[in-house]
């Protein structure tokens, strides 16, 4: 059941009606669980086995861990007077090891399933490439929908329970709902148990404003996805499937198309997800905060796919940075390389690991790995050059000039769009070649020789996509400049709110790239 299909729309409509009209407040989570499992079942019944195993193992181990930690605390409290410091330390070390072993077991099982289903064939492919001779045969394995998202959710839950920063859920079915909550199953956001559980099991009661906000957000999501993203993807396919035909200036077109397409596809999907949750009285974390208005790449990654970024920070970067081995390395490097360089070593290693993992998480392919590492290089370079920038800005007073802010935004946008070329061409060599062709054979005249009309998009398509992008941009600009949420502004002028809903719905219905004649394009992040 595609998010963009009519059955899904009907499914959500029936669910929302049933949810508020027939199900008592304290039993609504049960309906959501049935709906979520039903959604997953209709995608492929076999997926249920994977999600069930992941949820069950994480649930049981977290439960055992919490019980163990509670007993440990109780024991320490009860025997506080009888234990000297050494005994206490020894006891803590032993019990911490048990907790870590339990956590490791949970992570091995869940990350193991993710690694096996998603990366086994990538692994075999590379073994074959290195080894030569008789190639190992590929494994026929299904990749469950949204496995990266729900695995990361269970991993964060397991770690948080082990750390004692989150209370374990005692009802398995409630926990299963956290793992399988259908709106975010397809493409995130990656919710934390502490955040989502607040409203997932105890949703807000029916509130017309909330439901209206959710409704218009869903419409806006469909607008972005169907009117812009799925229209531009037609041109993108033509451009990237024959790279040698479309070099130079066309690579710039690819950059622009993909920047718009990916943004509208991903944020459109997130809008639908958050909109559905909001209609159900559930709060899901925001995943984007105007990323294309970022002034540097670091800020960009704080605004783009926020839940993924914070996940990697909280569960890879920080634990790695403060691990005993890293602390030892930090000490060693400071002593041997000097304070200035030495203190950077561990940060760089942790960052490298984060970006390597980010690249791999995005897909089992080398271009994702290179894309991740390129992000690492650019972030590190900009961090190292920061003092230079500061001096430069200070010398000319650039930070106070509005136009310089716009330049920084444009610069970051172009930089990030260049990095996204790896995802467009899906081949490292081709990406570098195409990127280079922008500087060697740009030839802008080619764009105006009618070739843009041969990409599978008509003049009308360009016009519609262009206008829709302008609308999305203006709404974002208002939020960026004034901090105003257009939805709220409209809701306070309710007839305008209704008019906006009608216009959005009709625009999606007529100009949406769906149905016969269009490929039913899944959300890009669905593959993760």
């Amino acid at each position: 059941m595609l998010f963009t299909s009519l059955p899904f729309v009907l499914f959500v409509a029936i669910l929302v009606l049933t949810y508020y009209a027939f199900v008592p407040h304290n039993e609504r989570w049960g309906l959501l669980l049935i709906a979520s499992l039903g959604f997953y079942f209709f995608a492929d019944p076999r997926y249920l086995i994977f999600i069930f195993v992941t949820a069950l193992t994480a649930f049981i181990i977290a439960d055992i861990t919490e019980d163990y930690n509670a007993k440990r605390k109780a024991y320490l409290k009860a025997n506080k007077a009888d234990m000297d410091a050494d005994v206490k330390k020894k006891y803590k070390a032993t019990t911490t090891r048990v907790t870590r072993l339990l956590l490791a077991l949970s992570l091995i099982i869940n990350l193991g399933i993710l690694a096996y289903t998603k990366y086994i064939n990538f692994f075999i492919e590379n073994i074959n490439a290195v080894r030569g001779g008789e190639p190992l045969s590929f494994v026929n394995v299904i990749i469950p929908m949204g496995i990266s998202f729900y695995t990361f959710q269970t991993v964060s839950y397991s770690i948080d329970v082990a750390r004692g920063t989150c209370k374990a859920q005692k009802n398995f079915w409630k926990f299963l709902l956290f793992v399988s909550f259908f709106p975010q199953l397809v493409q995130g956001p990656i919710s934390r148990y502490e955040d989502l559980s607040k409203t997932l099991y105890d949703p807000k009661p029916f509130d017309f404003r909330n439901v209206s906000y959710g409704f218009i957000r869903i419409l806006f999501g469909y607008f972005k996805k169907l009117v812009i993203a799925d229209r531009l993807v037609i041109g993108l396919k033509t451009l990237t499937e024959s790279p040698d035909e479309y070099k130079g200036a066309f690579v710039f077109v690819v950059m622009m198309f993909y920047a718009a397409q990916l943004y509208c596809d991903f944020t459109g999907g997130i809008d639908i997800t958050i909109g559905i949750a909001q209609m159900l009285g559930i709060t899901v974390k925001e995943n984007f905060d105007l990323p294309y208005f970022s002034k540097n790449i670091k800020e960009y990654w704080n605004r783009w796919h926020i839940t993924m970024g914070t996940w990697f920070t909280d569960y890879i970067f920080f634990p790695l940075s403060v691990s005993s081995r890293m602390l030892k390395l930090s000490k060693w490097s400071r002593n041997h390389l000097g304070n200035a360089i030495g203190k950077r070593v561990t940060v760089y290693i942790s960052c490298f690991c984060v970006w390597l993992a980010t690249g791999i998480w995005h897909g089992a392919a080398w271009h994702f790995v290179v894309w991740g590492l390129m992000n690492f290089v650019v972030i590190m370079a900009s961090q190292e050059l920061e003092p230079l920038y500061e001096r430069f800005h200070g010398r000319f007073g650039l930070k106070t000039k509005g136009w310089y802010g716009a330049f920084e935004i444009l610069r970051t946008f172009l930089l990030m769009s260049s990095l996204k070329l790896f995802d467009c061409y899906r081949d490292v060599g081709v990406t570098f070649r195409m990127f280079g062709s922008m500087f060697t054979t740009f030839n802008a005249g080619k764009l105006f020789g009618g070739e843009l009309m041969n990409l599978g998009l008509s003049g009308g398509d360009y016009l519609v996509a262009g206008l829709a992008i302008v609308i999305v941009f203006l709404i974002s600009l208002v939020k960026f400049l004034k901090g105003t949420d257009v939805r709220e502004w409209l809701y306070d002028r309710y007839p305008l709110f209704v008019l906006s809903c009608v216009c959005l719905l009709l625009a999606v219905a007529v100009f949406g790239a769906y149905g016969a004649g269009f490929d039913a394009s899944q959300f890009i992040y669905n593959q993760f």
Binding site: L6, G460, V498, L506, V510, Y514, G515, F518
Partner: protein, 368 residues
């Protein structure tokens, strides 16, 4: 407090009215957009208008023709009336498949019970759904009933879905950038394109030589098509309708002897008349140098009138049909049809005289 309550009431009222208006405007707009965006089939390719025209015909129809272009282009319903008083209707459309003919018969029986159903057998060669565009031309024009539902269900090709038939808007929404003047002119009403299902062409293009028939690996007519023929036979029997099978006199697409033999066998087994008019072209006086408009694929008005005259004689002699020329209220309606028929023929002849070809009908009339 009172002011607050009043404010609340006023605000609530505004919200309620806005919401109701919003829903109404959306529904109305979607309805209008659907009307605007669905193809009109008014110029060039008119086959998509044929099926729905039946519901506007108020005459009783004692003979119902079912089939594809071999009936709707080859038999003049006006000639049948003028020469024999037969009031007939052709429920045919482009590449109309056997099961579509069956469900159109079911559909027709909701409105009237003809005495004779004449089915052209060419479509028996198809056992599988063929093409969405032809499906649409036949099915979109049917009124909603279980027959339409079943016809769609039996006809859908890969990638088609029932929901797109229920809401044609979903299928045609992307036509927004190919709308023509005709789409705007015919949002709410359509012009008539046939005379009781007969599609007239008055131009002439002599029959050409057809390529040799390709040998087939299997000459068995598909079982699914034969099953629907059987269902058609049973439905006719249940309703005391005489079923007649015909093969129109046109030679292309080929009608293999092996296929002919299987239909003859069916005819023999179930005592259903079957006439292959390919063998009777000379007897009925067809001159394919003047009686076809597309090199022999279909008959023009001159050929259709000859074929209608010939088949009309058979129908009159074989079945007890009413001479509707003697029934004033029906005759009056047919007179209107004849006026339209004559006007259409004259308009086509005038255009032929002016340009040497038809420009308002057929391929030249397709709008881009």
């Amino acid at each position: 407090m009172e002011t607050g309550a009043k404010k609340f009431t006023y605000k609530t009222l505004v919200m309620a009215v806005s919401t109701v208006l919003g829903v109404a405007v959306t529904v109305l707009a979607l309805w209008f957009l659907q009307k605007l965006l669905v193809p009109k089939y008014q110029r060039g390719v008119v086959e998509g208008s044929m099926i729905e025209e039946y519901y506007d015909s108020n005459e009783p129809h004692e003979v119902l023709f079912l089939g594809d272009c071999e009936v709707y282009e080859n038999i003049s319903t006006v000639t049948l009336y003028e020469n024999y008083g037969i009031s007939s209707y052709i429920r045919g459309s482009a590449q109309q498949l056997t099961w579509q003919s069956y469900y159109l018969l079911e559909d027709t029986l909701r409105y009237e019970t003809p005495k004779v159903v004449v089915f052209n057998v060419l479509a028996l060669k198809y056992g599988e759904p063929q093409s969405e565009s032809y499906n649409r031309m036949t099915l979109d024009g049917m009124r909603w009933s279980s027959s339409k539902w079943n016809a769609i269900d039996a006809s859908m090709t890969d990638g088609e879905s029932m929901i797109d038939y229920v809401f044609p808007f979903l299928r045609y929404h992307s036509r927004w950038d190919e709308l023509t003047r005709t789409d705007f002119e015919h949002v709410l009403d359509k012009d008539r394109v046939t005379i009781n299902g007969y599609y007239m062409r008055a131009d002439v293009m002599p029959e050409a030589e057809f390529p040799s028939p390709m040998p087939l690996s299997d000459y068995t007519l598909p079982q699914s098509a034969m099953d629907y023929l059987m269902r058609m036979y049973e439905l006719c029997r249940e309703n005391d309708i005489e079923l007649v099978l015909i093969k129109a006199p046109t030679l292309y697409p080929y009608w293999y002897e092996q296929w002919d033999a299987q239909v003859r066998q069916f005819s023999y087994d179930y005592n259903v008349p079957y006439i292959n008019y390919i063998y009777l072209r000379d007897i009925m006086g067809l001159d394919m140098s003047t009686d076809t408009y597309d090199a022999g694929l279909h008959l023009n008005i001159y050929g259709a009138e000859k074929f209608a005259d010939y088949i009309g004689r058979y129908l009159t002699n074989s079945f007890e049909l009413t001479d509707y020329r003697q029934i004033p209220e029906v005759a009056q309606q047919w007179e209107d049809d004849i006026v339209f028929y004559d006007a259409l023929r004259d308009a086509q002849l005038a255009e032929l005289q002016q340009y040497g070809e038809l420009r308002s009908w057929g391929a030249n009339a397709i709008e881009s």
